[in-house]
Amino acid sequence: MTTDFRSNVAQALKQDAVQTHFRTVVDRLRAHRQAALAGDAAFEQLRNRCAAIRADAIRRLPQLLEQFESKAQRNGIQVHWAETTLQANRIVLDIMQRHRATFLVKGKSMVSEEMGVNAFLQSHGIDCLETDLGEFIVQLAGEKPAHIIVPAIHKNRREIAHLMHGHFSELPYSEDIETLAQSARHFMRDKFHAASVGLTGVNFMVAETGTLCLVENEGNGRMCSTVPPVHIAVTGIEKVIARLDDLPPLLNLLTRSATGQPITAYVNMINSPRRPDDKDGPDEVHLILLDNGRSRIAGDPELLKTLHCIRCGACINHCPVYRQIGGHAYGTVIPGPIGAILEPQKQGLDAATGELPQASTLCGACAEVCPVRIPIPAIINRLRWESVRKNQQSQNSRPVVPGAGSRRRPLEAAIWKIWAWCCSHPGIYNRLTKLATRLRNRLPAGMGAWTVARKAPKPARSTLHESLRTMDIDHE
């Protein structure tokens, strides 16, 4: 069975150099995280607290969103709601056109990637400039981010040097990282100066105060949200938290889990547009709240834990599958374990991404490192079940996950049904397993996909029950 995902994976596994590079960077991120947590007994308690904060916020999502909206509006922030990415893009376009803006400076934002805002605006004659160094590199290469924290994780300095030199021939060729970064600074400064609209993401929205919190290291997020006369922030509806007091523990956990830093260079807390006395800052701040399937995910008591995510990327850095295939093979905005549970819920189990819950060994590393304790393996199992479940035919039971049951195959279902029946009938079960051991040398060596890279399993000489009996254990 060849699917898009499988051919992506086959492709990724052939690129040895890229694979090695991925592993080096991911290992470094893991080491940094480990060093930042070593011997920190309070860390587990901090995780408990943050998990509770996120769980509480998602449980009270509608109330907190309304509270946030009214606070933010009172502060002068214009709040927009979008059910789909198309609606969100149209809101951005509308603002751009109202200000006759011809281009946009953009800070790093996974929600803007989800919206595909660059391509959308481009089709309306508006250019988007990625200003985060990693995103800028990815944009120059005409690619997509391969990691949510380190977008250009798949590129080494030589490739980046060629890329920069190719696009800006006036720059001398250099593989020096500092020189490359300074070239980007130089190029971008003029853009910040000239732009009339800046767009950024949001890490947390504080309902109590109507504050938008944005963390970053480079200063481009501050530039995009401070210098142009209009600032547009885009975010998923799940990013809200109840109180300002919830912010310090989450910030602490977010940066340490992501890169091992105690804090980012900048934590930007935006409360309002420019006030009458202020001499700078945008005259307009717009916030776009994107749903795109989130409110549906919130409808299931198990799956809603997907929305607790704070996008630190720790699960990605610790995933053995991501480590092998890298970020692009997933074919999604968010790769890795969190992507494998989030994207199928958004796009449907019958979509190409519906196969992603299979991209797991269920080793559990993701759940072990998740700062807010999202039970990713349990949700993977749940989605695997959802994809092959037998749909109820009754009228008012809508499937929670779109495309539920779409991967159910009658033959497979029948085999499992027969197996389940055998397992509950000891006489049949014993005869069947005995038969398997007697035929152990006659079973086929090729067993489809399983034996492409593995040997076919061979039953033991005798069944477990037989072996136990020879050991005089016969009371089960």
């Binding site: 960077v25 449980r59 007091d245 912010l247």
Partner: protein
Amino acid sequence: MNDARKAILDRLRLSQYPDSTPVKCDDQNDPVDPVLWPDERIDCFINRMRAVRTEVHDASHDSWLDILHGVCQARSLNNLLVSPHTRRGAMIYAAARRFPALKNYSQSIEDWKSELFTAVDAAVTSAYGGIAETGTVILWPDAREPRTLSLVPPIHIVLLEKNRIYNNLAEAMRIQNWAMIGMPSNVILLSGPSKSADIEQTMTYGVHGPKELIVILM
């Protein structure tokens, strides 16, 4: 997009589980963060800031002007952007002949954007507080010290009083009562100069914000 708003909120309300146990996330069982003695706090702050390539000067109320003078001289600055309307800004203006040409952010950014972006060597701001645990300076921009003052010029110098250094962010928020007093349009927590590790996870400084951060304690 009022339709979208209603549809989203309706869907969320519909999916609420009234029987689910409320989630407890109050602070009672929280780990007690280590509380440091004032001296330890200052040491911790200094070490953390230096670890992220910030130049920290441990000065006093008497010596900070001299230190600032030294900082300007060491870099042969041509000018210094500083407000004359803060207490310390006024003191700098009073000693103006010791310093490079002093500039005042007296107009809206639109009226002098080009100059701000190209012709300002360094800027001085005061700090609203400091955080020892993470090595962080709290900036509370206002009409006298606007947001871009600490962002656009390549060198940023911060004046921070030692008795305003708190153990951690939570403590600073609590003691200064941020939620109640009304925050400015933008609060900034600064922990080092602008940096990026986007190329091969190698740290490089001065990407989009200031290339140098200098903190003078008093």
